[in-house]
């Protein structure tokens, strides 16, 4: 993938929007400040926010140049989110961005049937374009999705042990007794995270967690989960700061 467009290009593209009058010089200065904001967002690593900001700039600027609009699509694709990739496919003026975004969307639709069903018309348009994609487009699309879709798998014997025990529990024990943990994260999640972060030390950590559970459950501290339920917070980070360099 080529480099992200730099601020000077964006500023230039913005400045070319209007002929030079006193009023439009103020407007050009404003657009330059907005372009600086985009560069700041990129420097902060907020690529999806930068993409949204450029898209807003394009929408606000009636005579937006192709360069500015192409920058918006490229940024949206680089953000790697589903929304960014879909936006890049629908607004791209660069043929390469259009093809890579289309291939990335096709891969996302193959992985997630529910997402495809929610975006049926977009999926139909993507299917119409499949023949136009080269092997390089597919490779770029996989790289684009891999950037944000990567899940950390188990690492080391402790992590594999945790994954095995928790997997056994979820398959054979959990269905019989249901979800019972009142702590956040749940004991299974705690074991998985501790195993992933600290290897075999995750085993004594989860044993300590089981011993402590009644005390934590009796505390006044609550945290709301995304599903709306309330749990007592007891994160791994509260119990590994003294030996984990990651924690600081």
């Amino acid at each position: 993938m080529r480099h992200l467009p730099t601020v000077p290009v964006l500023v230039l593209a913005a400045l070319l929007c209007r002929p030079g009058t006193a009023e439009t010089q103020d407007e050009s200065a404003r657009l330059a400040r907005r372009a600086s904001l985009v560069q700041e967002l990129l420097d902060e690593g907020a690529v999806d926010e930068a993409a949204a900001e450029v898209a807003t700039l394009v929408a606000e600027t009636p005579s937006a140049t192709n360069a500015l609009a192409s920058s918006a699509s490229e940024l949206a694709l680089q953000a790697g989110t589903r929304e960014g990739i879909a936006r890049a496919f629908q607004t791209a003026r660069d043929p390469r961005v259009f093809r890579v975004a289309g291939a990335a969307l096709a891969l996302l639709f193959e992985k997630d049937a529910a997402y495809r069903a929610e975006n049926a018309s977009l999926a139909a348009r993507v299917d119409l374009c499949r023949d136009a994609w080269s092997d390089k487009d597919w490779a770029d699309a996989r790289a684009c999705i891999a950037r944000t879709g990567k899940k950390a798998g188990p690492r080391g014997p402790g992590a594999w042990l945790a994954a095995g025990v928790v997997g056994f529990y979820h398959l054979f024990v959990g269905p019989a007794i249901g979800s019972r943990c009142v702590l956040e994260p749940s004991c299974s999640q705690y074991f998985l995270e501790a195993g992933r972060k600290h290897g075999i030390v995750g085993v004594p950590m989860v044993a300590d967690r089981f011993v402590r559970e009644p005390v934590v459950s009796a505390s006044d501290r609550w945290v709301r989960r995304p599903d709306g339920s309330w749990r007592h917070p007891d994160p791994v980070s509260d119990h590994d700061g003294w030996f984990s360099k990651e924690a600081h």
Binding site: R34, D208, P233, W242
Partner: protein, 291 residues
């Protein structure tokens, strides 16, 4: 968990933002959008909205500092400490340097990034900048002392609360106490449950003792009956509880020390920071009603 918007800061930001609200209905709409995003917890988008508004104003606009401060506060709610730093730098460049609201946000940013020395310095500066407001100055001094305490700067902590009898007493109480040794806790944990007892966690001690006793007995029974498969399973669980006892002894000492420090910090900071409203300006709720 991070505290909600500081009441003093909230009222002063709204005072600054109310200047914009009277100037342009379109800008007022965007401010209302940003406030709505904050209410719904979409802090990153709210911060972006404030920054976008700031970018649309000229560099000499008097409302600029307020917008950057509002964006910084939105990042504070998200715990985005690095992004908060950059926006505070913009606020300082726009003329908010040395103001109590900027110093407060700087202190909170440093606390969030666990840079306790810097946090203490900013809080001490806030105490000096709030000389005309006794309650805020006292709170800031207590906050500075608590931050210095977290960075083990005992002398700086003493200096921060010099002259404040209640806070000096709270600091003296903390310094007179003793931390538990994690090494001792871990060594005592070799005897199941004793590590927890060392740190005063009696309930955990009994649970650890019971579990180790139960699975230890199961191990020996299985070995005695030469049931090696079951012996392997019970040994696995017993090793888990036993290593948990040692780890728990160490972590219990760290928890004890952290609780002691947190109690001292709470005493030093005192009540919530005073909710001061300069000249009875509108609050954010009224902003919604107006627009």
């Amino acid at each position: 968990m991070h505290p909600p918007l500081h009441p003093y800061l909230l009222s002063v930001i709204c005072y600054l933002l109310s200047i914009i609200c009277s100037a342009s209905a379109a800008e007022a709409e965007r401010l209302a959008l940003a406030a709505f995003l904050l209410e719904t917890g979409d802090n990153a988008r709210a911060a972006l909205e404030y920054r976008r508004l700031a970018a649309d104003l000229t560099p000499d606009d008097p409302s600029l500092p307020g917008l950057y401060l509002a964006a910084a506060d939105a990042y504070r709610r998200d715990g985005a400490w690095e992004r908060m730093t950059k926006v505070l730098d913009h606020a300082e460049d726009a003329g908010a340097g040395g103001t109590p609201q900027l110093l407060l946000l700087r202190a909170e940013q440093a606390e969030g990034a666990q840079d306790w020395v810097s946090a203490g310095d900013y809080a001490a500066e806030l105490a000096q900048a709030s000389a005309g407001n006794a309650r805020l100055a006292a709170w800031a001094r207590g906050t500075a002392a608590s931050d210095y305490l977290r960075s083990h700067g005992i002398d700086d902590a003493r200096g921060a609360v010099a002259g404040d009898a209640a806070r000096e007493a709270a600091l003296a109480r903390y310094l007179a106490g003793h931390d538990k040794s994690p090494t001792v806790g871990g060594l005592l944990g070799i005897v199941p449950g004793l590590g927890y007892a060392y740190s005063g966690e009696w309930g955990n001690m009994f649970r650890s003792l019971f579990l180790n006793g139960l699975f230890g007995w199961a191990m020996f029974e299985c070995a005695d009956r030469e049931q090696w498969g079951l012996f392997a399973v019970t040994t696995f669980f017993e090793l888990t509880w036993y290593t948990g006892s040692i780890y728990g002894g160490i972590d219990a000492a760290h928890r004890y020390n952290r609780r002691r420090l947190d109690d001292a910090v709470r005493e030093l900071r005192g009540d919530e920071a005073p909710a001061l409203r300069p000249g009875g300006r509108v609050d954010l709720f009224s902003l919604h009603l107006d627009f």
